[in-house]
């Protein structure tokens, strides 16, 4: 059954990106519904991360566009778009300083200072209570990725793009982050688009999955329908 139009928060329409004469994303159209955890699955080099970077306009599509809540994203100021469509990458790239200053970075760009109480709420949400004054250099890989998630959430995004957020982590940290993302999506009704090469992870976490190969989207459906063993 197709979703009613108002349920679609992010719509990619015929998105393509050509770099060095190679179509790294080739005519991809995809609807992401509100509050769903959508997976983009494919092998390395399939164009899934490149596709994700087009969704918050970190790269420019060669053709096609994206609609955010019905508005063509080319009409939105890039900074507003990126506040509304947050992103967490494989490496957390925390800024020098403490955890609190990292969480305050996004709101500060709009002239807002995140109060201590909100910093605490965000840190509790990602399982790091009391971490606000800690220097980021003393955090483990899993803790850094949690801070990166909290930092993205501090902008109160409508959609969160997750680019292989567990692929640089060990097994224990990986399952912790997986559980955290599922919990956040469930409890806050946050729309998430997860890029992963791990089909089992997509099966565990996602409600719908799109399969990409050689820059093209070849199948979309529930994990049971599209992810065969």
């Amino acid at each position: 059954m197709s979703a009613p139009p108002d349920a679609v928060i992010l719509r990619a329409e015929h998105l393509s990106r050509i770099a060095d004469n190679v179509a790294i994303v080739n005519d991809v159209s995809l609807d992401v519904r509100r509050a769903e955890l959508m997976g983009i699955v494919g092998p390395s080099g399939s164009g899934k991360s490149s596709f994700l970077r087009l969704l918050n306009r970190l790269d420019e599509p060669t053709s096609g566009t994206v609609f955010l809540a019905g508005h063509d994203y080319r009409q939105l100021p890039p900074r507003e778009l990126r506040r509304r469509v947050g992103m967490v990458t494989q490496r957390p790239f925390l800024f020098p300083g403490n955890v609190a200053s990292n969480l305050r970075f996004g709101p500060l760009q709009r002239g807002e200072t995140l109060p201590d109480s909100e910093v605490s709420v965000l840190l509790e949400r990602v399982g790091l209570p009391g971490f606000a004054p800690r220097d980021v250099v003393n955090l483990s890989g899993g803790e850094q990725q949690r801070v990166s998630l909290a930092r993205a959430l501090a902008n109160r995004p409508e959609v969160l793009l997750l680019d292989e957020p567990t692929s640089a982590l060990d097994e224990a940290a990986k399952s912790g982050i997986e559980e955290l993302i599922c919990k956040l999506a469930r409890e806050t009704s946050l729309t998430c688009v997860l890029v992963t090469h791990d089909r089992d992870q997509a099966r565990r976490m996602c409600q719908r999955v799109a399969i990409m190969e050689k820059g093209r989207l070849i199948q979309t459906g529930s994990p049971a329908e599209v992810l065969h063993a």
Binding site: L58, D59, R79, R82, M87, T89, F95, F105, R110
Partner: protein, 262 residues
């Protein structure tokens, strides 16, 4: 020894240039033995250097007989050439040539103009051209260093920069700290020149003044004036070029366009 072999001053000059070039080439061959290949770059640079300086010498010979305002054209030509040369240090940054030319023109041009107006630099072509060229050449080097450092900082911190962009930061904000470190790094030679003045380095201008009979104390003070002018023009050039270039590292849609190998 060379003086006894050559009686014409020009022939002697070429012989001295050949000997100095041979020394430079010997060092390059030494580097080659350690698998550091600088041969073609150095050979071209040496050849270009001698052709250019002889051409300038010849033009100067003609200009010395012309009116004073002709030096403005020569200095403008030098600024354009300096912009083009130092822009090569900012490979892959669109608009680098324009940024370099404007920055050198503003930095070197302003300092030269103020000091000429104040009478510190004499308007005679024989003074204005050598002193102006020193200021422009140093501004060019500083600009090249600043752009080169900025480029490598941005390339090696692309992840951090795009993370900041993804969090809604303005492009200049995301590269502010790299622009700052580029300015610092680019001014190290000019500051060190000032620090070492007279202790490890007696510049050519002072030597020339001494040879032409100027008071050693005045020659020394004037040398300080020139080096301080170089620092001022280099500082202004570096500030302006990093301020302008940081906008060129991004597209109008605020995407990092400066990518590739560091």
């Amino acid at each position: 020894m060379l003086k006894s072999l050559f009686h014409s001053q020009i022939a002697l000059g070429f012989a001295q240039a050949a000997l100095a070039s041979l020394l430079a080439l010997a060092v390059i061959l030494l580097a080659r033995r350690r698998n550091i290949h600088l041969e073609s770059d150095t050979a071209v640079a040496l050849l270009r250097g001698i052709v250019q300086i002889v051409a300038v010498g010849s033009i100067l010979m003609l200009l010395l007989k012309g009116p004073r305002w002709t030096s403005v054209f020569l200095l403008t030509g030098m600024i354009i050439a300096a912009g083009s040369i130092s822009a090569r240090r900012a490979k892959n940054i669109p608009g680098a040539q324009k940024v370099s030319t404007y920055s050198i023109a503003a930095g070197a041009g302003l300092v030269t103009a103020i000091m000429t107006w104040a009478g510190v630099i004499d308007t005679a072509i024989t003074t204005l051209i050598p002193v102006g060229s020193m200021i422009i050449a140093n501004a060019m080097n500083t600009n090249g260093l600043a752009l080169n450092r900025f480029r490598s900082e941005v390339l090696s911190h692309a992840g951090e920069i795009e993370t900041a962009l993804a969090l809604g930061a303005a492009p200049p904000e995301t590269v502010a700290r790299y622009a700052e470190s580029s300015i610092h790094a680019s001014l190290i030679p000019a500051i060190d020149n000032l620090r070492s003045l007279g202790i490890v380095w007696i510049p050519g201008l002072m030597t020339g003044m001494l040879l032409s009979g100027a008071s050693p104390v005045y020659a020394a003070i004037y040398q300080f004036v020139v080096i301080a002018m170089i620092l001022a023009s280099s500082g202004l050039t570096s500030l302006l070029s990093t301020m302008m270039i940081r906008n060129h590292a991004f597209s109008p849609a605020e995407q990092l366009v400066l990518k590739g190998d560091a």
